[in-house]
Amino acid sequence: MPLLRLERITKRFGGLVALSEVSFSVERGSIVSLIGPNGAGKTTLFNCVTGVIRPEAGSIRFEEEESLMGLTPHQVAELGIARTFQNIRLFANMSVLENVLAGTYVRTKSGLLEALWPWGFAAHQEERWAIDRSMRLLEQLQLAPFADHLATALSYGQQRRLELARALASDPELLLLDEPAAGLTYQERQELMAFLNRLKGQGLTVLLIEHDMRVVMPISDWVVVLDDGATIAQGSPKAVQEDPRVIEAYLGAKPDGVRPHGV
């Protein structure tokens, strides 16, 4: 039984068909990559899964056949799906630690009464727990020394890692990463790949959008290729790499023995 199963997802924006009958599954404990040219509908698909936008047709099932259709983003998050964004969306006027703490929101439950109760023991315990958890994540991602800095004071690569830490703070089952390697240095990319493999080792399932084949090919168990809103191929990294339709989509012309760079 796959952790996430998408069937015939269709999304239109006015006359534009952004996604047309997209189907694929993400097996539990695997890393699946979603690739395709710009405008292929990859981020739109993420937005459908996380409830940010609603597809017109199709079904999205998560764990034990739970349907995600019609759920709001916070309900999807509560089920155990966390995500990052293509154009990093951190909380700018919050500290690095507070950004990660915000990620623990779904795993904590103090309400108004706990907040205002003068002898708030339960809330204090919970806060300690959340801070400990957040600090551990920051350490794992080499961000602990910056815990009290403003999120915007971090370098680009650090901000990407912080967004990852924030998503992990919610203790998700499924992690959706939207171009996590974009703009990273070679060194940072290697570290990211090692980190994702470690997460996989801990049983986490990862679905990622990525352009960089040097990242996609070594770490993916399964690759799904989107072009113009449709799945044109899917399979193991090696099979997809050699698929003529994929090469055509990336080059925009029929292959004549020339392999595109990096594919």
């Binding site: 929101y105 108004l112 009290d148």
Partner: protein, 310 residues
């Protein structure tokens, strides 16, 4: 520091015998209470609200009507006014939280005006433009608050201190963190599991409730309420206090209210040029401190405070 300021403020009426000074400080306290409430909505949750005076009006009229029609005492009126204005905050918020930013500002502006116009026209209940007269002052046992400002001053000091304490607690809590997250990036907050509709309504309900307390205090102190006390300019002034003090800063809201109440009084000598000077001063202040008087200090304190306190 905090205790020292409190001690000075509590003993002030004994040191400074000028009743006019105490009166101005009482007004500053009333505005501080309103600024604290609006800061919850605008500063914490990031909802630009332009009709905040409506909740102040609802609180004031709730106590006035309960007192005049049912003889309800002030101390019972206080929680009832708070609850009524809080519920109004949530109900008026239900349609408003569907829109964001500039649109939310326009919707709340509309609500503010609707409440004022309804109050003006609901003559059999509210006395229309003439308002309501003869509202009872508070009393404790056999001691009755009268025209002397001092008891009101101590009462508002207590209310402001209690509210400021609650606001600081809230900001540090899980809910406060979620408010700030939704202020900073609503989509990211939603994807982290923050039910933004619910949190916005909590902010509007609490903010409305604080304005209700302020309204009840105002009605009991004045003994009269009229619709023109709750016009759009009041909403704008409270917002100016919050922004001047530093959005999101609890101490800033109090300081902003104090500055914007006391400065116009100091400028009395310039008579008709008073508001002109006041306006110019605001422009200069916001140029010099665009984050507000305590905005930057607030951020620095938050950065330091989180781990140290845990």
């Amino acid at each position: 520091m905090r205790t020292a300021i409190l001690v000075v403020l509590i003993s002030l009426p004994f040191i400074d015998r000028n009743p006019y000074h105490v009166e101005v400080l009482t007004t500053a306290g009333l505005y501080a209470l309103l600024a604290l409430g609006l800061n919850l909505i605008v500063g914490f949750a990031g909802l630009l609200h332009l009709g905040y005076a409506a909740f102040f009006a609802i609180g004031a009229y709730t106590y006035a009507l309960l007192n005049l029609r049912a003889g309800c005492p002030f101390w019972l009126g206080l929680p009832v006014s708070m609850a009524t204005a809080g519920v109004a905050g949530v109900l008026l918020g239900l349609p408003a939280v569907r829109v964001r930013g500039d649109y939310l500002a326009i919707v709340t502006l509309g609500f503010g005006e609707i409440v004022r116009i309804v109050v003006t026209n609901l003559e059999p209940w509210t006395g229309g433009p003439n308002g309501l007269l003869g509202i009872a002052h508070p009393s404790i046992g056999s001691f009755r608050f009268g025209v002397d400002s001092r008891p009101y001053y101590w009462l508002i000091l207590l209310l402001v201190e209690g509210t400021a304490w609650a606001c600081a607690r809230l900001r540090r809590s899980r809910i406060g963190l979620a408010w700030v997250a939704l202020r900073e990036d609503e989509l990211a907050a939603r994807c982290l599991g923050v039910d933004t509709t619910r949190l916005k309504l909590i902010a509007l309900g609490l903010g409305g409730g604080i304005a209700g307390v302020a309204g009840c205090f105002f009605a009991a102190k004045q003994g009269t309420v009229t619709p023109d006390s709750f016009d759009f300019i009041l909403s704008v002034m409270i917002l100016a206090m919050v922004i001047l003090g530093g959005l999101g800063s609890v101490r800033g809201a109090i300081l902003g209210a104090a500055v914007l109440t006391i400065v116009p009084e100091l400028l009395q000598g310039f008579s008709s040029y008073r508001m002109l000077l006041f306006g110019a001063l605001m422009v200069v202040l916001m140029q010099a401190r665009p984050q507000g008087l305590l905005g930057l200090a607030q951020i620095r304190r938050e950065l330091r405070g989180r781990r140290a306190a845990a």
